[in-house]
Every structure is written in C-alpha cells, then in structure tokens.
C-alpha cells in the first residue's frame, strides 16, 4: 500500500483525468473570459479570479482534441504550478477520490490522442475506472508554446 493521493477527477472528451488536490486552487463556473490577442488559439484569455487576473486555457485545444462549445457542466479548474496560476476549461469536474500512489502505472504511448509526456500515469480506481493523471509542469511548459507559435507562423 503506497501513499494515498487525493485527486480531483474531471472529464474531457469522455475520458476521466486527475489532478492532485494540493495543486488545485479552486474550481469555478465559467466566467466571462477576456480574449488576449496574439496568443495560441488554446489560450482562451484571462478571467478575474477574485481580483487576480488568471489566464485560462482550453485543455481540449492544448491536447489537440477538437474543441467543443461549453455547456452548463463546464468548469474552470485553477491550478498553481511552478509559481504560475492557470485555469483549465474542462467538460465537467465531478469528484474527489483517494487513490493509491502504487496503482499509478506509467502511461502507454498514446492515450486518447494525448502525447505521453503530458501524462504522469494511469491510475485504476473504483469499479475498473481508469484515471489519467496529468503532468502539470509539462502541460504548462512554455517552451513548447513558443514552438507551437512558430509552427502557426
């Protein structure tokens, strides 16, 4: 039995993902987003989070999934990693679960079209549910954004 992890579960394109609770600042309903010009298309803009301006990115866009219109269930999960605060738009955030760190397996090469380096691993929990654990510092890696920008140009 390894270390117990508390994980926030959210869904994105019918898959379930997990982020450790201690990295999540808050979960918000969708608020009006102010577009920031000259940024990659998955950066939706900035929101006012209780007086702090926080950038918001669409995780679907970030992972190269097709972007879809937001729904009543859409949420913004604000995470704090490497002194950065960023909000993720996800399809829904619905659960907090305890998982055993030992049950996290290293990710297979392709999961739902997402590059393996964004993933920390796959965890099994409950009745054979699979949870994709995100590697946040890779997701927020800025060097890659710069590369993306160059690709777009």
């Amino acid at each position: 039995m390894g270390e117990e992890l508390k994980v926030i579960v959210f869904s994105l394109a019918h898959e379930e993902y997990g982020i450790e609770v201690d990295k999540v600042r808050t979960i918000e309903r969708l608020a009006p987003i102010t577009r920031v010009p000259k940024t990659p298309s998955f950066i939706k803009g900035v929101i006012n989070l209780r007086g702090i301006v926080v950038p918001v990115i669409d995780l679907r866009g970030r992972f190269g999934l097709t972007e879809s219109a937001t729904t009543e269930n859409s949420r913004i999960i604000v995470v704090a990693v490497n002194e950065m605060e960023v909000g993720f738009i996800v399809d829904s955030a619905n659960d907090v679960v305890d998982i055993d760190a030992d049950t996290i397996d290293s990710p297979p090469e392709i999961v739902g079209g997402i590059k393996a380096k964004y993933l920390r691993g796959i965890a099994k929990f409950g009745d054979n549910r699979l949870l994709i654990m995100l590697n946040l510092s890779e997701v927020l890696n800025k060097n890659e954004i710069i590369q993306l920008e160059q690709l777009e140009v």
Binding site: T34, R35, K38, V46, N48, R50, G51, V53, P55, M84
Partner: protein, 688 residues
C-alpha cells in the same frame, strides 16, 4: 520575561530612532545654533539608550550613554558643536547602526567601541582641543561616572564664579526624599520649581531629565543661584511634602575651588566678594534655566509626538486588495439589481454603499504606496560622508521625496540609487580646485528628483560635474573589448553614454573604494531592468550628467482612457495620449502603402488597433469616420484608430501572470467595475 517577543519591536524602533538621529544631526550640522534640534536628537538617543538597556544590549546602551553626555552639554549651551564633535557623533551612530544590524542578524550586538567612547569622553571633558586636561574638568568627568557628588565642568564653574563675583548667593543643595515617596519625580520638580522662581539652577546631579523620569535613588544635589538666604531656602524646600532632609550650603570662590579640586563636600562660610556685576553672567545663567525648562516641557510632550503607525505584512495588504475587488464586483451587480427592482429604500442603500466603497477603494489602493522618502532619507548622510572623504564640496538637493511608489519597488531601488549617487560623487563632481579652474562654484550640486508621470515614476540623479568624456569612454570601451574600433566610429553620443552601463566598464583612472571597480553601473542597469524599469543617461561635457531611472508603478492606480473595439474593451494609459479626435475616411493619406494623416501641421502614421489586436468583431472599413487616439513615444507621434470611446477612468494595474508574458502591444490588465478584465495597451509597441 521573554525578550524575543519584543525583539522585532526593538529592532524596528531602533532603526527609526537611528534614522531620526541621522537626519537631525545633519540638520544640526547645517544649523548648529538651533537647540531645538539638539533636543530631539537627545530624546532619540535617550530612548534608544533606555530600550537597549532594557533589552540587555549593554554595549549599545553604554555608547548611547556617552553620546547622550555630549549632547546634554550641547543642549545646555555648555558646549559648542564643531566638526570634530560632529564626526565623532556620526562615527558613534555608525557603530550603533552596525550593532543593531548585528542584532537583526541574530548576533548579540556586541562591538568594540572603546575608541569612540574615548573620544566622546574627551569631548565631555573638553580636552579634545587642548591636550592638557584641567583638574576641574577631569574631576567633573570622574564625578559623573562615579555618580557621587555633583561636580561642575569648566563652564558651570565659570558661571558660578561670575555669580559669586557679582554678589549673588550660590548654594550647594542636597535633597533627600522620603523612602515611601511615590512620585519622586514630582517632588524633585517642585524643588526645581522653587529654586527656579527665586533664581537659577546651574547644575543638578542626576540631570533634570533623569530626575523627571525618576531615574535617581532618593537624593539629588543641585548647584543654584538664588536671591533667598540660606535659612529661607532651607525652610522653603523642607516645606515641600515628602522631603526627608535638605542641606543648603552657601558657596564662595574658595569652597568652589575646593569642591572642584578635591571633590570635597565641605561647607564654607560666606566670604564677601564685591566686584561690579557682569551682565553676561546673569544673562547666560538665565538662558540656561530657560533651556532646562523648555527641555522639561519637551520631555513631557514627547510621548504625543511618537508617530502612530503599525507595521503590516504586505501579503495581508494583497489579500485585502483582492477581497476588495470581489466586493466591487458585487457592488456593480447590486447596482444593476436595484435599478431593475426600483425600490427607493433599496436604491438609497445601494447608493450609500457605493459611496462608502469608493472611499474604501481609495484607502485600500493607497495602503501599499510608500513615499520614496523612506529610501531617500539615508542619502544626505551618505553624500556628506563621501564628499568629506573625497575632499569635495557637494550639496544634495532632494525634490519630490513625497512621491509614492509601490512598496515592492521601494524595497528594491535603494541599492541602484546608492550606486548612481556614489558614481556622481566620485566620477561626476570635480574636486574644489578643478571646479574653480573651470569657473564653476566650488560646491557641486547633485539633484535627486522623483516625480510621477502616468504609470511611471522617474527618479533622476543630476549633477553639475565634468560630464561624460566621449573620447575617454570610447578608449576604455575599446580597451576592455566592449566595442571594436570600427563600431566605435559609428556610435552616436547617446550610444557612447550608454556604454558606461556595459559590464566590466570603468573609466576611473584610479580605483577608489567608493566606486570605480567597474561593477557599479551594469549592476544598476540590470537591477532596474529586472524591476521592469529603464535607465538612461544624458550628459554634456563640462556641464554635468543626468541619470534618469524610469520605474513602473506595479500594482498601482493609473489614469487611463477606456475604449471599445467591437465587443472588447481596452485601456490606454492617459500619459501616452496627446489627444483624441475624429477623422473622416477621406482624410487618410496613403504614403508608400502606409496610411498617414495630417495632424497639427505634421504627417503622422495611422495605426489600426483592430488589426494589431486581431479584433474578431470590429472592422473600421465599414465606418465613414473613425475615432482616433493620438499617442506619443518620446518625440514620435502616431494616431490609433479605435471603435468607440468609453471614457477616462482610474484603473488598477494587474499583471497577466507568469504564464502569459511578453504579449505584443499588451502591458497588463485591469479589472473593470463590472468585474470584467480589460487589457492595457502598451502604446510604445504601437509606434515603431
């Protein structure tokens, strides 16, 4: 008692007192006659002494005590300030500062201060000018330290001698207060009051202040000149309640001499002495009592003068600020709701809340702002010391010390400014001879200015020294490999001036300990750049150099013009705006494919904001007339087309966070009254 609980308070207050000592000593140096300054210096020193003794920092207390002794003589006009005394006091202050720093760093605050203490003591004795110490003065010094009988210094002795010479009664009075007396200070004051009414007090042991603050055991002694007879005086003093015992002895020249020489407390019969009165004796004695009284008054009013501030963690201010922004959003929603519901009492309440919250907003925003004075105040002293050590004459003129800057910036700009000032003193201002030879006044002037300009604060260091020598700068730059000879020829004067900020550059012919190690200016530049600021230099050979530091007002309020671009709102800092206007489509000219307009007898480029910002739902081509904002960057102007003006507003600058950095044409964001984020446009990016 756990002293640690009081340590941070002690450190904060010590620093405050040291700063005020520093400032007041400087003021006194320029105006040595002003005794009121001495009073405040004395008070600060005295408080510092008390605090450090309470906290158990004996070295700190004893050094302050010696400085206090000197100051005591000065404020009682028994000692004239001169440069030696100033230097010694400043040295003492430095030692105190380093001891406090040691305590801050977790040390014990111990330091070897014997040299400074010795020179302070020699000042008290008065023998720092004349090598031979007079017996009287020496006795005075030992008398003070032993704490026994009250003995006199030279000046007091001469006052008493003159009084006796002019036929006045001089008494040596010993008063003992009853053991069970509760308010010893009051009783002592009553004795002094009685003596003061009927004459003058020359000297008391312990000093008047100590007596007032009950810093004595049970007895004290006084030398007084009085019109009353010995018996009258004795009975009158004895009539004051709670006085145990009083001994009054009439002094004559002989007993005075005996007192001084042998430290004897013998009483001697009166001896007739009739020399024509010297007016000066009386006058001086009068002055002295006046000083003693005002000092008593000052002491009693001192507690009220303490500034009423508290220290708050800056994170808490941030939290307050953010909570307030939340409140603001709800306020706007409430306003909307109340206008829909249309109930009078609701509307009134919401309006009142609006007023209160806008007052609150002002206060919250100002809380983080600190006057730049808290950095500037240590510079006069620094310049004085530097000038002295370099044998130059320099005036430092500070303007705009009340300019306010965000606390985080204030904390960082101290060191860069020290570098710039040191550089000005060392390399800028010439020696007195050079200045005279160049036909300049022998005293050089350094102006230190701070002022607001929109969302920036400018701090300028300008001196009237020798200016930057292009040839010498280039020679050094080439020698140090900063530029090649080829490049050097093409550099403009401004470029050459900026070379002095290059790493590893120094034009000083000889290395001094003030600057000239070639590490100064590039450090300044990188520090200021890291603060999001900029430093420029402007120089005229032979006339002086001006360094201008431009600093951003992070998390501060700026005035901005809010504009609309389709559905989006943006803010343009008002400082960059020259004017706003409307132009017709047919007024737009095409020059080489660039759109230009006529504006005030000039042709300026027309920039489409919608295009720069990729606006999704605004197309200016559909409009027959366009609103424009004319902006400037230095002396370049440009017109920017916008959709619609919303109006001028005070906005709070916010960063976009660390994830979004270096976004073209956007310098930050702000939160509007309705809770929405609006981006702030960087006008400098619009002008190429």
């Amino acid at each position: 008692m756990d002293m640690n609980a009081y340590l941070s308070m002690f450190i904060d207050e010590s620093n405050d007192h040291l700063q005020s000592l520093n400032e007041n000593l400087l003021r006194l140096e320029s105006d040595p006659e002003d005794l009121s300054i001495v009073q405040s210096i004395f008070r600060s020193a005295h408080t510092l002494k008390g605090m450090s003794a309470t906290m158990g920092y004996e070295d700190l207390a004893s050094l302050t005590h010696e400085m206090e002794n000197v100051l005591d003589l000065v404020r009682n006009s028994k000692l004239k300030m001169d440069s030696f005394i100033f230097d010694t006091l400043f040295k003492g202050l430095d030692a105190l500062e380093s001891m406090v720093q040691d305590i801050v760093g977790g040390g014990t605050g111990k330091a070897d201060v014997t040299a400074i203490v010795a020179s302070l003591q020699s000042i008290v004795k008065g023998d720092y000018k004349t090598a031979g110490a007079s017996a009287g003065a020496a006795a005075a010094a030992t008398g003070q330290t032993s704490g026994g009988a009250a003995l006199l210094d030279e000046f007091q002795t001469s006052v008493i001698q003159q009084s006796i010479d002019s036929g006045h009664n001089v008494y040596y009075i010993e008063v003992e207060i009853r053991e069970d007396c509760v308010l010893k200070g009051v009783r002592a004051y009553m004795v002094f009051d009685l003596l003061g009414k009927n004459g003058d007090i020359v000297k008391s042991e312990p000093s008047v202040t100590d007596l007032e603050q009950e810093k004595f055991d049970r007895s004290f002694t006084v030398f007084a000149i009085s019109t009353l007879s010995q018996q009258e005086l004795e009975t009158q003093i004895a009539e004051i309640s709670e006085i145990e015992k009083v001994t009054v002895a009439l002094l004559d020249l002989e007993s005075l001499a005996m007192l001084n020489n042998a430290a004897a407390k013998e009483q001697a019969p009166a001896a007739p002495a009739a020399v024509p009165a010297e007016a000066t004796a009386k006058e001086e004695a009068g002055k002295q009592v006046g000083a003693a009284r005002s000092q008593a008054a000052a002491a009693s009013s001192a507690p009220a003068a303490v500034s009423r501030t508290i220290r708050v963690d800056i994170d808490r201010l941030d939290a307050l600020m953010n909570l307030f922004s939340e409140l603001l959003i709800d306020r706007v929603r409430l306003e909307q709701l109340s206008s829909e519901i249309r109930r009078n009492d609701l509307t009134e309440t919401v309006e009142h809340m609006t007023r209160v919250s806008s007052d609150l907003q002002n206060i919250v925003l100002k809380l983080r702002m600190v006057p730049v004075d808290s950095v500037f105040n240590r510079f006069p002293r620094m310049i004085r010391d530097l000038a002295k050590s370099l044998d130059k004459k320099i005036d430092l003129v500070i303007t705009g010390a009340d300019t306010e800057l965000d606390r985080t910036v204030i904390d960082e700009i101290g060191d860069p400014l020290v570098h710039l000032l040191r550089n000005s003193v060392d390399h800028g201002i010439e020696t007195v001879e050079e200045r005279l030879a160049a036909g300049k006044p022998e005293t050089g002037t350094i102006h230190l200015r701070a002022y607001h300009s929109g969302n920036h604060v400018f701090i300028e260091v300008e001196e009237d020294g020798r200016g930057i020598n292009r040839e010498r700068v280039l020679k050094t730059a080439i020698k140090n490999g900063v530029v090649t000879e080829e490049q050097a020829k093409q550099l403009s004067n401004e470029d050459v001036n900026m070379l002095i900020f290059a790493p590893g550059f120094s034009t000083a012919d000889k290395i001094s300990d003030i600057s000239g190690r070639g590490v100064g200016l590039d450090v300044v530049k990188s520090k200021i750049t890291s603060l999001g600021g900029n430093v420029t230099v402007d120089s005229a050979l032979g006339r002086g150099t001006k360094f201008a530091v431009q600093l951003p007002l992070t998390l501060s309020i700026i005035s901005a013009m809010l504009i609309k671009l389709g559905s989006e709102k943006y803010a343009i800092p008002l400082t960059s705006i020259v004017e706003t206007g409307i132009i017709q489509k047919d007024q737009i000219l095409n020059v080489h494919g660039n759109r230009m307009i006529h504006f005030r007898n000039a042709i300026i480029p027309l920039v489409s904001l919608g295009k720069v910002l990729d606006s999704p739902d605004f197309n200016e081509h559909n409009e027959s007339e366009t609103e424009i904002v004319v902006i400037r960057k230095g002396d370049k102007w440009a017109a920017v087309t916008v959709d619609e003006f919303i109006g001028q507003s005070e906005i709070v600058l916010k960063t976009l966070g660390k994830y979004l950095t270096n976004i073209e044409a956007i310098s930050g964001a702000t939160i509007l009254g309705d809770g929405q984020v609006a981006l702030i446009i960087d006008p400098n990016a619009l002008i190429k």
